[in-house]
């Protein structure tokens, strides 16, 4: 006789905690609204993005940073439901949908290459490496939209000092996590994975360069690069690599993913620069999410005072 096993439940079947806790109100609401509305909602849910229930840890006692802007922050909803993370799909609503079950437990970041103290960091070690700060940065995408995000982290230089780069170290190469089973949509991205990025050592040492572990007072949501990422606010967003697993100090300029994909469109530096257009669109203006008309883009995304000196004497039209 054939004994059929009941289909196994997966984590995706678990009722989200917030829904569970709210079940009484939910039932009451059901009674009021009625069955027709529920049917209609089911139909419209197909058209509207669903809400993600995140299991983020809250950070307390964050240090305020003098680098923070006082500009109006974008909503958590916008920043978590409109972004690029091509490993999880190329539509800007894809990461929120496809990264939901991304497993980041047991995460380590390996630091290697031209350093005296090569080692692996666990997430616990990273979180205790330096006091966590909240930094409200402007973030400018190469696609000419921008957001203001309250990131959480500390200057990447804290980590650099800990591992003691040798005199040979002139560049830092970064690598993202990639697992085609957890990121099946990545197959269609049209770029090579794992995603790689890089900085010159002096850029990496700049205090603005942030090793980021959270945003909006919480740990990073999966779709925004959990559990640890870089944020380099004066460069186009794609330089700020997500879900970081490897950092390598080296003498040579490292390859970078978008440069490998289209070197005439994306350079190694990719500093925000309203005077140097992308071959296919203008970089003079940007649309801040939440606004209709575009606003002028600022040189180095408004961080000239902190970073312009890094590029003294360089032709930024050539080194785009």
């Amino acid at each position: 006789m054939l004994i059929r096993k009941a289909p196994e439940l997966t984590y995706a079947d678990v009722t989200p905690k917030s829904v569970y806790l709210d079940r009484r109100r939910f039932l009451r609401a059901m009674g009021i609204v009625g069955a027709t509305a529920v049917t209609a909602k089911g139909l419209f849910d197909l058209a509207l993005p669903p809400q993600v229930v995140s299991a983020a840890t809250k950070f307390t006692s964050l240090v305020n940073s003098p680098f923070s802007t006082s500009e109006k922050q974008n909503s958590y909803e916008d920043v978590t439901h409109y972004n690029n993370f091509y490993e999880f799909g190329t539509d800007k609503s894809d990461p929120a949908k496809n990264a939901k079950n991304f497993n980041t437990s047991g995460w380590t970041v390996s630091v290697e290459g031209e350093v005296a103290k090569a080692r692996k960091f666990t997430m616990d070690e990273i979180l205790k490496l330096a006091p966590l700060e909240e930094r409200i940065y402007r973030h400018r995408c190469v696609e000419a939209w921008s957001i203001v995000v309250p990131w959480i982290g500390f200057s990447f230089s804290s980590l650099i000092k800990l591992v003691e780069p040798t005199p040979k170290a002139q560049f830092v190469a970064f690598q993202s996590y990639y697992d085609s089973r957890q990121m099946p949509a990545g197959r269609w991205a049209g770029i090579e994975f794992p995603y790689v990025e890089g900085l010159r050592l002096d850029e990496a040492m700049n205090p603005l360069t942030l090793l980021c572990v959270g945003m909006y007072g919480e740990s990073l949501p999966n779709q925004d690069g959990a559990p640890v990422r870089m944020v380099i606010p004066w460069k186009y967003g794609f330089k700020s690599i997500k879900s970081l697993v490897k950092i390598k100090f080296q003498q040579k300029m490292p390859p970078t993913t978008w440069n490998l994909a289209a070197s005439n469109e994306y350079g190694f530096y990719s500093n925000v620069n309203p005077g140097v257009d992308h071959p296919r669109w203008s970089q003079a203006k940007e649309r801040r999410l939440g606004e209709i008309f575009k606003r002028p883009t600022l040189m180095f995304n408004g961080y000239s005072d902190q970073v312009a000196s890094l590029y003294n004497g360089m032709d930024l039209k050539k080194n785009y």
Partner: protein
């Protein structure tokens, strides 16, 4: 089937159906459903619907012949005009929110960026087609010339696909999909044209032969 296709109500239904994408956009706008970048969402949606309507319009002739449904012609003008309607909305999002109606900046952008240039060309090609879509204009131009003019839709569709292909950063699946549909529709016409020519040429030769025979 004939009765259905020639019914007045079918025409009304098709017209209303063509308004659904606009209705969906308005519904989303009223229910906070346009996402974090509403302008981009409207731009992408109206652009895609322009391409879709161009493709549907280009389907009419092959479907009439292959399915033997000549009455489909009744919907062609409306479908073509809806392609123009959606491209106008698409173009407006570029003129307004993107360029703040700054004509000098727009002109520079159109001249400088191939992806904008080709999209703008596609739009320009559709303007005379929309203008001459009335019965009066068919009469004024004469059927043959009117038909010649309206073949500009082939180039508009190709321009639309190139515009889309150049716009995306690296995932070209969607533009390639639309490109494949346009390619099939245009190749079908080319094939028809070539085989008609091939059958016309011998006929012409034989008629000349016949004339020569008669003269002899």
């Amino acid at each position: 089937m004939r009765a259905l296709l020639t019914s007045k109500w079918t025409k009304v239904a098709v017209f209303l159906l063509c308004l659904v994408p606009l209705g969906a956009l308005i519904w989303r706008a009223l229910h906070n459903g346009l996402g974090a970048n509403p302008v981009e969402f409207i731009q992408l949606t109206t652009g895609r619907w322009t391409l879709r309507f161009l493709i549907i319009t280009l389907c009419i002739t092959p479907f009439r012949k292959l399915l033997n449904l000549p009455d489909l012609i009744r919907f062609r003008r409306a479908l073509g005009l809806f392609a123009f309607f959606y491209v106008c909305l698409h173009f407006l999002t570029y003129l307004g929110p993107d360029q703040s109606f700054d004509l000098a900046a727009i002109w520079k952008d159109v001249a400088k960026r191939p992806f904008i240039t080709v999209g703008f060309l596609g739009f320009l090609l559709l303007v005379p087609l929309a203008m001459t879509s009335t019965r009066g204009w068919i009469r004024r131009l004469g059927g043959k010339r009117w038909q010649m003019l309206h073949r500009a839709i082939y180039f508009a569709a190709v321009a639309g696909v190139i515009h889309y292909y150049w716009k995306v950063k690296s995932d070209v699946r969607m533009p390639l999909f639309y490109g494949a549909l346009v390619a099939i529709l245009l190749l079908w016409r080319l094939w028809g044209w070539l085989s008609r020519r091939r059958s016309e040429v011998p006929a012409k030769l034989s008629s000349e032969g016949a004339r020569a025979d008669a003269a002899r």
